[in-house]
Symmetry: C2
C-alpha cells in the first residue's frame, strides 16, 4: 500500500480510504488511486486488515472425526455437506476455512476459536465431542453445530428430525410385513442415537417386542459396517430387515448381504438414512430418509451470521422425508 501511495503521490491513509470506497476522497484522486492499484493487481493484505478490523470475513468449518480416525473426508455425507456449505458461504461473501480434527486433539475447538481465524464456526457432526462443544459455546456465541438436538444441550444445532425420520422408516418396514428388524449404527454418536430412538419408538408403538431386534454397533466407515454385517450373518441370527443409521452403512450392508447369498429386498429389506446421491443408483436403489443438506447448509450459515451479529438464535430442526425405493421391498408409489 505504501507503494501505491508513493506512486499516486498521496498518503497511505488516503489510499486506504480510496480502496475502501470511502466517499471522502475526491473523485479524481480516487480514480487515479484505483487505476494504479488495478494496474499493479494490488489487493490489501488480509492478515493486516484482519488484525486491525478484528474480523476476517471467514467462517471456519470443522469436522471432528473423533469416533473414527479412518473416516476420511471422502465420506459422501460430509462431502456433500461441504459442497453445499462452500456454495452458501461463498454466496454470502465470506471465505471458508476448512479444518478436519483428528482423535487425540484436545482443546481443538477452543484453539480454533482463539486463533481468531474466522468470525464464526460451523461444526459438522457432534461426533463424540458433545462436552467440548458445550463448553466452548458458553463463551463463544457464533458457533453452530450440524447434528442431533440433545436434551441437555445449550449450543445451537441445525439438523433433521432424526427421531421422526427413523420412525417413519421403521414403520414403513413394519407395514411391509417385516418381523425382525435389525438396527445398525453407533449409539455413541448423537445423531445415530436419535435414529435408534426413533427405531425403538416405532417398534414399541407396534407393540413389538424389542427382544426380537438386535443392535449392531458400527463405526461409520463402509468397511467396518460391511464386516459387522457379515459377522452378524455368520452368527446365524434370523432377521428380515435392516434399518441402518446412515446410507453408507446401508450400502455396505447390502453388499454384505449379497456376498452372503441373501437377496435384497426379498430375504432382507434395507433402509438407510441421509439420501446421499449414490443411494438412487445402488442395486437395488436404496429406500432411505432424506436430509435436505442444501437447506441445512443455508440455515447453518444463516444462523452463524446472525450470531456474529449478536443475535441469540434457537436451534432448528428440519423435516426428514422417507424416500421409498426398492431396497425395502415395497412397491414404488
Amino acid at each position: 500500500m505504501a507503494d501505491i501511495a508513493r506512486l499516486a503521490g498521496v498518503h497511505v491513509s488516503t489510499v486506504s480510504r480510496a480502496l475502501a470506497g470511502n466517499p471522502l476522497v475526491e473523485s479524481t484522486q480516487r480514480e487515479k488511486i484505483l487505476k494504479i492499484a488495478q494496474d499493479r493487481g494490488y489487493v490489501p493484505n488480509t492478515a493486516a486488515a484482519n488484525l486491525r478490523l478484528r474480523r476476517t470475513q471467514t467462517l471456519s468449518v470443522v469436522i471432528p472425526l473423533h469416533h473414527e480416525a479412518g473416516q476420511a473426508l471422502t465420506d459422501p455425507f460430509f462431502v456433500s455437506m461441504l459442497g453445499h456449505l462452500a456454495d452458501e458461504i461463498t454466496q454470502r461473501g465470506y471465505g471458508m476455512y476448512l479444518k478436519k480434527v483428528l482423535p487425540p486433539a484436545t482443546n481443538w475447538l477452543q484453539g480454533l476459536v482463539q486463533s481468531h481465524r474466522a468470525d464464526g464456526v460451523i461444526v459438522i457432526g457432534q461426533s463424540t465431542e458433545h462436552a467440548a462443544i458445550e463448553a466452548v459455546s458458553k463463551t463463544y456465541p457464533p458457533l453452530v453445530v450440524w447434528g442431533g438436538h440433545l436434551q441437555q444441550q445449550s449450543y445451537c444445532t441445525v439438523g433433521s428430525d432424526n427421531v421422526g425420520g427413523a420412525r417413519a422408516a421403521v414403520e414403513h418396514l413394519i407395514q411391509s410385513g417385516r418381523k425382525r428388524i435389525v438396527f445398525m449404527g453407533d449409539s455413541n454418536i448423537p445423531e445415530m442415537r436419535l435414529r435408534q430412538d426413533g427405531y425403538r419408538l416405532a417398534l414399541a408403538q407396534a407393540s413389538r417386542s424389542a427382544t426380537a431386534d438386535v443392535q449392531i454397533p458400527s463405526h461409520m466407515t463402509a468397511d467396518a459396517a460391511y464386516e459387522a454385517m457379515r459377522a452378524y450373518i455368520r452368527e446365524g441370527e434370523k432377521f428380515d430387515a435392516v434399518f441402518a443409521a446412515t446410507d453408507v452403512i446401508a450400502i455396505s450392508a447390502i453388499r454384505a448381504l449379497a456376498a452372503s447369498g441373501l437377496s435384497v429386498p426379498k430375504d432382507v429389506a434395507v433402509v438407510g438414512f441421509d439420501d446421499i446421491p449414490m443411494s438412487a443408483y445402488t442395486n437395488p436403489p436404496l429406500t432411505t430418509v432424506r436430509q435436505d443438506l442444501q437447506r441445512g447448509a443455508k440455515i447453518l450459515v444463516d444462523l452463524v451470521l446472525r450470531r456474529i451479529d449478536g443475535e441469540d438464535t434457537p436451534s432448528a430442526t428440519m423435516p426428514a422425508e422417507l424416500i421409498v425405493r426398492e431396497s425395502s421391498g415395497a412397491r414404488r408409489k
Copy 2:
C-alpha cells in the same frame, strides 16, 4: 498474550518465546506460562502472527467455475477432490482456505494471491481460465493446477493422462464392435479437450472415418447433459456408443437413453471418465476411466509445498486406468 504475561509476571516476549517452544526460556518459567495459557485456553491470534511472520500455514484451494455458473460445488468430482485435499493438507499441518470463483470475477487469481491469505494456491480445473492462470504463474511460483497439461503452458499442473485414458476407453468400444461412437463433452475445457483428442486418436488409428462420429458440446451439469442427449436422440441420428468426457455426463446420458427407450448397453454402450464413487452403483454399472484422486491430491499438495520452499517443480501426469463394468456391453473380465 498481554494477559498471560501479566498473570505470569513476565514480559510478553517471554510468553511468546515460551509458547513457541524457544529453549531459551527457563524451564520452570516455561511450565508456569504454558500452564496459564492452557488453563485459559489461550492460543495466539493467527492474524497477528501471520502478519509478523509473513506466512499463514494455510493453502488456498480455488475452484473456478467460469464455464458453468450453475455447476455447484456438489459436483461429485470436485467434491471428492476436495475431500482428498482436505485430508492431505490437514495431515501436513496446514489449514485449507476454500474459494469458489464465479463467472464475472476478473482478476480472481491475482486478487487471491495478493491478499496473502495463504502460502500457496491450488487451482482445481483450468475451466476457461488458462490465460489468467498463465499470467499469474509468471510472478507467483507456489501455484499448482489440477487439470490438463497443455503445450504452451508454463505453469505446473497435475493431472491424469487424459489422452491415453480416453484412447483406451474408445479402443475398448471399438473392440467391442461399436461402429458409431459419439463424444459428449465441452471442448473448451482443457481436460475435456484432451479426452476428445484421445477419442479422435483412437478412431484414427482404427482407420475410422471421423465423419461417423458426432460432437455434442455439453456443459458439465447433469441436466445440461441430459437435455443434450435427449435432443440428440430426437434428431434421429444413428449411433451405438457414447464416450462421455466425465462420469456426470455419462450418467446423465444413461438416464436420457433409458428415458428414450434405448437399452444400455444393448442399443448404446456408454463409457465415462473419472470413476466417481457413484459410477460403480449405477444401473448398469458404468465403464469408465479412473483417475486416482487421492494420489492426485497428495501430489498437488506435495508440489505446492515444495514450490513454497523455492523449488521449481515440473508438471506431473498420472496414468488413467480403464475400468470395465457393464455399461460398455463387454463381458467383465
